[in-house]
Amino acid sequence: MTQHLPVLQVAIPLLASAVCAIVRNARIAWLIALATTWTAFVIALNLLFRVQSEGIISYALGGWAAPYGIEYRVDLLNAFILVIVTAIGSVVIPFALKSVECEVDKSKGSLFYTAYILCFTGLLGIAVTGDVFNVFVFLEISSLSAYALIAMGQDRKALTASFQYLIMGAVGATFIVIGIGLMYVMTGTLNMADLAARIPEVRANRTIPVAFGFLTVGISLKLALFPLHLWLPNAYTYAPSAVTAFIASTATKVAVYVLLRFFFTIFGIAFSFDIMQLHIVLLPLALIAIFSMSLVAIFQQNVKRMMAYSSLAQIGYMILGISMVSVTGLTAGIIHLFNHAMMKGALFMALGCVMYRIGSVDISAMRGLGKRMPWTMAAFVGAGLSLIGVPLTVGFISKWYLILGALEQSWWPVVVVVLITSLMAVVYIWRVVEVAYFKDYPDYDCKPVCEAPLGLLVPTWVLVATSFYFGIDASFTTKIAEAAARTLLGIGL
């Protein structure tokens, strides 16, 4: 059965979502979701270890061999992405049980888990497939269910946020389809490996650069790169906490993966960076994103929105690493996918605990929380340290590689920007710490606020612990990221 794991990775969640839609009981739907996500996590780990020992795994759907049929192709990079998505998915589900009961309508309980597993299926499908049109289909499966999930937020602003996301997401997806269509018209194939072999023959034709342009804009919309990021802050702020924790740590990461796959594997470095000079576009955008979004984050009153802007800055770090087009830079980008997923997941889950107890994540409402919810706030601070990039946390590892990569190219201004924005992260995390630990809680609030229940705390702390563990012993993640970066650049180990 093990040779079927690549397809089971997607098929099991797909089946589970259909079953979830039939049972109209939230608790049973939750159990199904729990079983599914954990199974998927085990499969993803298994795939990762197998890829590490045996190399690329290829699976022909329906028995039709690869360029004709749809191929699922797992290499080190997407096995790593699968592990990130399934790990976050399976940690958020135990958290969701209580959080969703509190934040989402009772009648929508089972629908929430249906949409959640569908979104999960879509993200896994994007990562596992070796067919470009399949990427689009799974992208839309995940996006459509994400719109529904975001619209389940309590505030009515969640509806407009979701609508805004839908408009921009649909435009992005349509741009991606146009790009895929133009590639198909020139090469007659949709298989990634086949495309990579055929595009060099036809790249003199103007159609391929046009396809490249459409894909760049489309994918940038999906991953919320700086000028195309407008949908993200509202969507993250008003979605239910569990949804924010899940989507913030997976959806944009998978979009970054799509970017890597298209520009490195399919178009090839020679075309993307020597002929099209993509890094000249990406590098300034990444720097602007890092700087301006960190600045905007400092002035937010809603902590969830603050973290959303900080996510935008972190996406900038990933793109910065990628636009260096060197082994160190790409390693930094890929490892930051994992590291950022861990710390942002933990931060949003800690905020979910706050939301569960006091029903608000405004900075003014968090006064004195350090004494009343010590474990929650400690988790927030722990993950916050990682966001800043303090040594012994995962954030440090990412920034270390990023700065090394910049130094290799002697890009001193980039090093300065990374250091300054780390200080800006100190400022916005400190704003929360100051309010939570050094201000007394309001007297008029006679309602006793106690620590969040274990069901919420344990998953949060799992992610915080992971972000410390891989900050102290990063050999596992760096080894994978570096090997993946070398494969993308076509340099042997």
Binding site: V7, Y59, G62
Partner: protein
């Protein structure tokens, strides 16, 4: 529109033909243009016509929302279920050749079953969308 006799009789005559045509599109799908998606939409269109003429409440008596919902999920289960069955029979996921003794028959059966799943899902989802929009009360002008 319950009192408009021409519309009622016209619709009653048309609906069976629409539905039979949907089945034609479905079963013709593996030889010519057609298939589960188109068939599901046509089938649902016939039903939605009934809903438009006789009212959503009557339509819900014929096919309650929960049943439409069940169709929507059952189709996915049929589709993915075929995949799982082919896995269990020793083929790849959705490799229809193992479904029968003869790979050619297997392919035929497989595509029919999968298209049936698509038909079920599309029909169920279309009806659910129709009910959700048409049955929504409390909308101002």
């Amino acid at each position: 529109m319950e009192d408009k006799i021409i519309i009622r009789v016209g619709a009653k005559t048309l609906i069976p033909f629409i539905m039979v045509f949907a089945l034609y599109v479905q079963f013709h799908g593996d030889y010519g243009p057609g298939g589960g998606f188109q068939a599901g939409v046509i089938f649902a269109a016939g039903f939605i016509l009934y809903g438009l003429i006789f009212g959503v409440d009557m339509a819900k008596k014929v096919l309650p929302l929960s049943v439409a919902w069940l169709f929507g999920s059952a189709g996915v289960l049929i589709f993915a279920g075929v995949g799982v069955v082919t896995l269990l029979l020793g083929g790849d996921f959705l490799d229809y050749s193992v479904l029968a003794h003869d790979p050619e028959h297997g392919q035929h059966w497989g595509i029919l079953l999968v298209e049936l799943g698509v038909l079920t899902t599309v029909f169920g989802v279309m009806i659910s969308i129709f009910y959700s929009f048409a049955g929504r009360r409390g909308l101002g002008t």
